[in-house]
C-alpha cells in the first residue's frame, strides 16, 4: 500500500468512503423525515397540528428516557427486558405512597428514583459479578415486577394524583412574555400568538448546534481527520435546524414548552455528552467491544456493567413517574410490553446487538420513528394488529439495512 497514493488520491474517493461509513446516520435522519412527511400527507395534516406535535412529545417522553439507559446497556453488551415492568412497578409504588399513604410529592419522587436504583442494582449485581446472562436475569426481573405491581396495587388502579405531581408530565413552562401582553399584540398585527420562550429556545438550540458543528469541524481539520464533506455538513445542519425551528414553532403556537420536553432534552444532551466525551463513556464502548481486552486495559468491567444497570433502573423509575403522572393513575398493567418499544428504538437507532456500537442520538431518533408511526397509524385508524406487524417490519428493515451496509464496506 502506498502512503503517497492515499494523499494524492482524488478527494472523490475519500468523500465516498466517508459517506459509505456514515450511510446509517444519514439514512436514519432521512427515514424520520420521510415517515413524518408520509403521515402528514396521509393524515391530511393532522400529524403536524400543534396539539398533536405536543402530544407526540408527551406520549414518547418515557420511551425516549428509557432508550437513553437502554442504549448504554446494549452498548455494554447486555440487554434489559425488565424496564417496562420496572417502570410500571415504580409508578404503582409512587401511587401508593402519594394516594394511599399521603406522602409529600418530593419525597415520593426521591424514594421512587432510589427504588429504581435499587432494582437496577439488584439485577446488575447478578449480571456483573456472577456473570449470569442479562437476558435471563432481566427476564426474571420482568416477571417479578409484573407480579409486584399487581400485588402492590391489589389489582386495582390507584389515582388520581395531586396536581403538583401531574405537572411533571403534563405541565408547561410559563412564557417569559405574559399572555396578557402577547395576546393583544398578536391580535394587532393579525398574527397567531406564539410562545416567545419556546421560539427563543428553538433559535438558541439551532445556534448552539451550528456553533458546535463548526467547532468540531475546525478540530477535525486541525488534526487532518477526514470529516464530513462541507456541503453535506451544511445540508444536514440546515435540515436539522429547520426541523427544530418548525417543531418549536408548532409547540409555540399551542401551549409552549412541555415540562417533560425539557427533562427529556436535558437528559438527551447529558447522555450524548457522557457517551461521546467522557472517560466513562469510552470505557462502556470498550467493554462492549471486547470485554477481555477492556479488562486487561485496566477497566473495571464488572463495576461498569453494574452501574449501567443501576442507571437503567433510575431512568426506568423516572419514566414510570412521568407515565403515571400523564395517565394520572397507576394501573396494575402499566408499562406492559414497553420494553420492546424501547429496545426496538435503540436497534433502529443503529446499535448492534453484540455491543460496542450505537449512539444516543440514534436511539432518540429511533424512538421518534417508532413514536411517529404509532401516532400516525392511530390517527389513520389502523388497528393495533396491523400497527404491530408494521412496527416489527420496520425494525427488521432497519437492522437489515445495517447489516447490508456493513457487508458493502467490507
Amino acid at each position: 500500500m502506498t502512503m503517497q497514493s492515499v494523499e494524492t488520491s482524488t478527494g472523490g474517493g475519500e468523500i465516498r468512503a466517508y459517506l459509505k461509513a456514515h450511510m446509517r446516520d444519514y439514512g436514519l435522519l432521512l427515514a424520520l423525515i420521510a415517515i413524518m412527511v408520509f403521515f402528514q400527507l396521509v393524515t391530511g395534516g393532522t400529524l403536524m397540528r400543534p396539539v398533536n406535535i405536543t402530544n407526540l412529545f408527551l406520549q414518547n417522553s418515557y420511551i425516549i428516557i428509557m432508550a437513553l439507559g437502554m442504549l448504554i446497556v446494549i452498548v455494554s453488551g447486555n440487554i434489559d427486558l425488565s424496564v417496562g415492568s420496572v417502570m410500571g412497578f415504580v409508578g404503582a409504588f409512587a401511587a401508593v405512597m402519594i394516594v394511599e399513604l399521603h406522602m409529600p410529592v418530593s419525597l415520593t419522587i426521591a424514594a421512587s428514583l432510589l427504588m429504581g436504583a435499587a432494582i437496577g442494582a439488584a439485577q446488575g449485581y447478578w449480571i456483573a459479578y456472577w456473570k449470569i446472562p442479562s437476558f435471563i436475569v432481566t427476564l426474571a426481573g420482568m416477571l417479578v415486577f409484573r407480579g409486584a405491581s399487581l400485588w402492590l396495587l391489589d389489582g386495582q388502579s390507584v389515582g388520581p394524583f395531586p396536581p403538583s405531581f401531574q405537572l411533571m408530565s403534563t405541565g408547561f413552562i410559563p412564557d417569559i412574555v405574559p399572555d396578557t401582553l402577547s395576546q393583544p399584540l398578536a391580535a394587532i398585527f393579525g398574527l397567531v400568538k406564539i410562545n416567545v420562550l419556546c421560539m427563543g429556545f428553538g433559535i438558541a438550540a439551532s445556534v448552539a448546534l451550528v456553533w458546535m458543528g463548526l467547532r468540531a469541524r475546525a478540530r477535525e481539520a486541525a488534526y487532518g481527520i477526514v470529516g464530513e464533506p462541507v456541503n453535506f455538513f451544511w445540508l444536514r445542519t440546515l435540515v436539522v435546524i429547520g426541523a427544530i425551528l418548525f417543531l418549536c414553532f408548532k409547540l409555540a403556537t399551542f401551549r409552549g414548552l412541555p415540562n417533560v420536553f425539557i427533562s427529556m432534552g436535558l437528559l438527551t444532551v447529558l447522555y450524548a455528552f457522557v457517551t461521546q466525551n467522557t472517560t466513562i463513556g469510552r470505557r462502556i464502548y470498550a467493554l462492549g467491544g471486547n470485554e477481555k481486552a477492556a479488562k486487561l486495559s485496566g477497566i473495571k468491567t464488572e463495576r461498569l456493567t453494574f452501574l449501567a444497570f443501576v442507571n437503567m433502573g433510575v431512568l426506568a423509575a423516572f419514566a414510570g413517574l412521568i407515565f403515571a403522572a400523564r395517565l394520572n393513575t397507576a394501573t396494575p398493567k402499566g408499562g406492559y410490553g414497553l420494553e420492546l418499544d424501547v429496545i426496538a428504538a435503540v436497534f433502529i437507532g443503529g446499535a448492534s446487538a453484540s455491543g460496542g456500537t450505537g449512539k444516543v442520538i440514534g436511539a432518540v431518533v429511533g424512538a421518534f420513528i417508532m413514536g411517529v408511526m404509532n401516532n400516525g397509524m392511530s390517527i389513520m385508524g389502523i388497528g393495533i394488529d396491523y400497527q404491530q406487524m408494521i412496527k416489527g417490519l420496520v425494525l427488521l428493515s432497519a437492522v437489515i439495512f445495517d447489516v447490508y451496509n456493513k457487508r458493502k464496506q467490507a
Binding site: S5, G13, I225, N277, T278, R282, A293, K295
Partner: protein, 504 residues
Amino acid sequence: MTTILEMRDITKEFPGVKALDRVNLSVAKGEIHAICGENGAGKSTLMKVLSGVYPAGSYDGEIHYDGDLAQFRTLNDSEARGIVIIHQELALIPQLSIAENIFLGNERARNGVIDWNETYRRTEELLRKVGLRESPGTIVDTIGVGKQQLVEIAKALSKDVKLLILDEPTAALQENDSRKLLDLMLELKAQGVTSIIISHKLNEVRYVADTVTVIRDGTTVSRLDAKGLSEDKIVHDMVGRDMSNRYPERIPAPGETVLEVRDWSVWHPDQAERKVIDAVSFHVRAGEVVGIAGLMGSGRTELAMSLFGRSWGRNISGEALLHGKPVDLSTVSGAIAAGMAYVTEDRKHLGLILEESIRFNTTLSNLKGVSAGGVLNEGEETRVAERYRAQMATRTPSVMQKVGNLSGGNQQKVVLAKWLFTEPEVLILDEPTRGIDVGAKYEIYTIINALAAQGKAVIMISSEMPELLGMCDRIYVMNEGAFVGELAAAEASQERIMSLIVTE
C-alpha cells in the same frame, strides 16, 4: 515447468487505502512459493483476492489458474478448484473435536446424518499424513497451537487440495513445531501439491521455498530464485535498503532492582489440583532487558498474566516488591497504577477492540492522560495517537482507521503503543514481535532499548530464541511452570537454553 497460477496486475482498493497496486504473481506447478514483504505490504490481501474472499469484480486484474481465467465469487468456488487457504488467524472451533473441525462444512454424512465411523477413519488417515499423534475425538482447545496448525493442514488436505496457501503458519509456533510443519510442506510438495507460504521468518523461507516473490507497498518488487538466495537480499528488497544489523546496539547499564517476585505460585483456574506456576522467583533491574525463554505451554504467559492484576489463575500466592516495597497487584488497574504494563501475545482477543479506531485503542489504558475531570480531550487524543503512529511507522491512512482493518503486524504496533502510553516502569512483553516484519522488528527493538535507556525494566517473553539472545541482558529459562536456570547474556546460547529445558 508449467505455471499453475498467474495473477496479473491485481489492484485492490479499500476506502482510503490502495492495498494492492498492479501486483503480479506467478507460481509454477509443484513448487513452494514464498511471499515476503513488510507489514501491510498486501500479502494477506493478495491471498484473499486469490481465494475468493474478495470476490471477482471487487478488484482489478486477472487470475489465471490451472489453464483458465478464474473468477471466484466465494471461498467455496476456489475450494472447488482445489485452492485451500489457511488464514493468518486460526479458524478452528475450540469446543469441537479434531474430527468435527476437519470435516466442518464438509461432513461425512448420508442424508444429513453423520457417519461417525467414516469420519473417524478418514481423520485418523489425515492425522497420520500430517504426523499428528492425537485421537480424532480430542477437543481442539486442549491441544497446543502447533498441533492446531497441523489440524488446519489436515483439514485442508481433506479437501483434495492442489494449491495450498499458508498465511504466516509458523508465527505462533516454537522452532521445532515450525520445523515439523515445514517438513510436512516439503513432503506435500513431493506428492505434487503446490504451496504458497507467507512468512516473516526468512530462515524458514530459505528452508522450504523454491521461489520468492517480494511485495512492497502493494507492488511486486522482485521474483527471486531461492537457490543461493541470501536473507540479506530478501530484506533489502522488502524494505528497500540494506539492513546490516538485526538488533540495535545497546550498552547495558542496569541500575537498582525495580521489580522483585518471590515464590510466585499459581493454580489452574478450572483444574483445582493443577499447579501451573511453581514458586517462581525473579527480579528485574532498572534499565535491564530480561528474557524468559521456554517452550510453548511452559507457563510464561500464565506467569505474566497472574502478575498483572491476577488476570489468570487461582489461589495465587507469593510476594511482589516494587522498589523493595510490597505492591498490590491484585487488580489490573492497580497494576497499571503501580507502573506495570503487559503487552499480550493474543492481540485479537486480549489486546484490541477491533471495531474501534487506532486512536481509541491507543489511549484506552491511560484515559487519564487525555482527559481532564473525566472529560476527554479529542485533540490531545489525536496528538497522542499520531505521535505513536509516527514513532512506530504504523501503516495506515489515518489514526481514525478501524484497527480491525490493519494488517496483523500493524495491529501489533497499536497494542505496543497503547502500553507505551501508560508510561510503565516495568514493561512485560509477551511475544512482542509475533507476525512483525524485519524492518518493524528493528524499530520495536529500538524502542525497547530506548525504554531501557530511560531506566525502565523490561521483561521479554519470546519463542524466538535469537531474539532473546540478541536483546536481553539476562535470560531466565522456564520449564513446566518453574524457572530452571538463569543465564547472563555472555554465557547464553541456544544450546545452553535447550539443554537446561531438557535436563529438567
